[in-house]
């Protein structure tokens, strides 16, 4: 999925009612198949940017196109349908539902499909196999390791064939040896054409991406590409 964001601004009020400038004129262009890491200190606005790109939050001003469509103009119903069908979210704390087994967790997005006819779900065994979870259909999140739980979350993000994955500190709760295979999985998905935006404060994690974007104080301050020339700011 191609992303064009220009001049995004977003101001919050914190719990004490003080305004916090999360985004102060962010420009970002992402091409299909890019694996982008956004890094920066906490509070730099990287999660806010992810939420804006993920249609969970609206910018105060600016322009944001996903595959050529301006998402700022969309009503909530359209945004929800877009999140359902085109986007996949992966979070630091997994956000699996503890009372559902692996298969039910992975299938959860099917519940909220609005289009008719509804798209067929991917073959569950194949999907779980592709994220390294073969044979865990009936297990519950509490019976899985952290790395396995994050794989369930990734399978859930992919179940309806999302072409943009948004990952917010996906390895933040994992130790380095567990984190590596997860990052390998992202790299593998990107190499097969999925666009991935990963937010992290860990430079080692960011280095696994093909593009690294550094943010500070609500702005993109530096961008580097790992294995290809050119800077896309």
């Amino acid at each position: 999925m191609q992303i064009d964001a220009k001049d995004l601004y977003k101001t919050y009020r914190d719990s004490r009612g003080q305004p916090v400038q999360a985004l102060c004129g962010v420009d970002l262009h992402v091409s299909s198949g890019d694996f982008v890491a956004i890094s920066g200190p906490s509070g730099c606005g990287k999660s806010t940017l992810l939420n804006v790109l993920g249609c969970l939050d609206r910018p105060d001003s600016g322009f944001c196109q996903l595959d050529g469509e301006n998402i700022a103009a969309w009503r909530e119903g359209r945004r929800a349908a877009f999140r359902n069908r085109r986007l996949g979210f992966v979070f630091q704390s997994f956000h699996l539902l503890p009372f559902l087994n692996v298969q039910q967790n992975v299938d959860l997005p099917l519940l909220y499909v609005r289009d008719t006819p509804s798209p067929g779900r991917q073959d569950m065994a194949g999907l779980l196999g592709s994220v390294g979870l073969a044979g865990t259909e009936e297990r519950y999140p509490a019976e899985l390791s952290g790395g396995q739980q994050q794989r369930v979350a990734i399978a859930r993000a992919l179940v309806l064939g999302a072409d943009l994955l948004l990952a917010d500190e996906p390895t933040g709760n994992l130790d380095p040896t567990t984190a590596q295979p997860i990052l390998d999985l992202f790299a593998d998905l990107a190499s097969r054409g999925r666009t991935i935006i990963l937010v992290t404060h860990d430079p080692a994690v960011a280095r696994r991406a093909t593009r690294q974007v550094h943010m500070a104080a609500g702005r993109i301050v530096q961008e580097s590409a790992a294995d290809r020339p050119g800077v896309h700011v």
């Binding site: 993920g54 969970l56 119903g77 349908a81 999140r83 959860l108 997005p109 499909v113 917010d168």
Partner: protein, 403 residues
């Protein structure tokens, strides 16, 4: 309401059975209590109405007042034949007025068989007023009264116990050692809460009662048959009776009556056994239970919304709309309330059945029996709606930040 949200809610409710049952418990208890109370009350009301009906819905009873003598409470002999005469001449709206003498626990025998029964001394019109004539044989006549004849009409129980399968009519019974000839057998009336087994009685001329058995002048009951059974007629008659009898008995302004007037309503109320106030207390308790159930469901759901921010956030992230969240959380409340209602039904119905058996009541099913528990379950379900609205308003970006 869409099926996906019902499915999501049922997943939550069924995946955590212990939590669901705990939440449903107050609903179950108050539903069971309301159900049992309403069923039993309906049964008691039916019994009371039957009692009033069987006594006569147009019949007012006047009994002597009671007075405490030597530490014992007993009836005073305040009602007389003169009272009957004066009531006959002055009451407006009465079609018949009859005085009776009544003696309980009278030994009666026939041959080798004997029993203890209630003896009524009456005049022939009494049968009309109380709708209590002879089923077989004859009732008493004016001649029987005029001649103080030793004749009687016996109840079905008396006939069965003293004569078995043999024909009682024409037979002889000894009433307190005095021989009486049986003229007829009374119509069957069955048991009444107000009067006990109404077939365990015999009826003799009121004059014979005085001349041959118990020499007392006063009457034990005066029955007044009203023109109709409308409350207006009955209330008016009650007031007239009190005015006439107070005057006749020379009772001063503020002194209490030396007689008791009972309307069909009073008879019904006495026949309920379990008083109305006990019923209201029980109903109030189940009302308190209902409020408690609403509080529990409301507060636990509200707490749940806080704890479940991550779940709500992820559902929004994968495509749920605020309305989906609202419906899901509301349906969870409905499902828990329904579980409570069903458990309440499963507890309340057998409880009501046992109580009804114990009290020898019919099971009463009225509209209230259905509406009461239904209302309770509905209120409990509604208690989940407010927190559900709060859940729907959560900002998904904020909700997802929670752990």
């Amino acid at each position: 309401m869409t099926s996906k949200n019902i499915r999501a809610a049922l997943q939550v409710v069924t995946a955590q059975p212990a939590r669901t049952m705990l939440l449903a418990l107050p609903v179950a208890v108050s539903t069971a209590l309301a159900l049992a109370t309403l069923i039993i009350d309906a049964g008691l009301t039916a019994r009371a109405e039957a009692a009033a009906r069987s006594f006569g819905t147009d019949v007012i009873s006047i009994r002597p007042g009671t007075r405490i003598i030597a530490g014992k409470s007993g009836p005073v002999g305040t009602l007389s034949g003169e009272d009957v005469e004066i009531l006959r001449s002055r009451l407006q709206g009465a079609v018949a007025i009859e005085g009776t003498r009544i003696q309980d626990g009278v030994p009666i025998s026939a041959g080798s068989r004997n029993g203890v029964y209630r003896v009524f001394g009456v005049r022939p019109p009494w049968a009309e007023v109380r709708d209590f004539g002879a089923e077989r044989g004859d009732f008493l006549t004016e001649d029987d009264v005029a001649s103080s004849a030793r004749v009687c009409v016996i109840g079905q129980t008396v006939a069965r116990e003293l004569f078995g399968n043999a024909d009682a009519i024409g037979g002889e019974v000894l009433v307190n050692q005095v021989p009486f000839q049986v003229k007829g057998v009374l119509v069957p009336k069955g048991a009444s809460p107000a009067e006990g087994d109404r077939d365990a009685r015999i009826v003799i001329p009121i004059s014979t009662f005085y001349d041959r058995l118990y020499r007392r002048l006063h009457l034990d009951q005066i029955v007044v048959q009203a023109r109709d059974s409308s409350p207006d007629t009955l209330t008016s008659l009650e007031q007239q009776i009190r005015v006439v009898l107070r005057e006749q008995h020379r009772i001063a302004g503020t002194d209490t009556d030396d007689f008791v007037v009972r309307l069909p309503d009073t008879i019904a109320e006495e026949a309920r056994g379990l008083s109305r106030s006990v019923f209201l207390l029980l109903l109030g308790l189940s009302g308190v239970g209902a409020v408690l159930a609403m509080l529990v469901i409301g507060l636990v759901t509200q707490q749940g919304v806080k704890v479940r921010q991550g779940e709500i956030g992820i559902r929004r992230a994968i495509g749920a709309l605020p309305d989906d969240i609202l419906q899901q959380v509301a349906v969870e409340g409905v499902a828990v309330s329904l579980v409570g209602g069903l458990v309440g039904l499963a507890l309340g119905l057998p409880a009501a059945w046992l109580l009804a058996r114990w009290q020898a009541l019919g099971l009463g099913f009225t509209a209230a029996v259905v509406i009461g528990p239904l209302l309770l379950v509905t209120l409990a379900a509604l208690a989940g709606v407010l927190p559900a609205r709060a859940a729907a308003r959560l900002d998904p970006a904020v909700a997802l930040r929670s752990r």
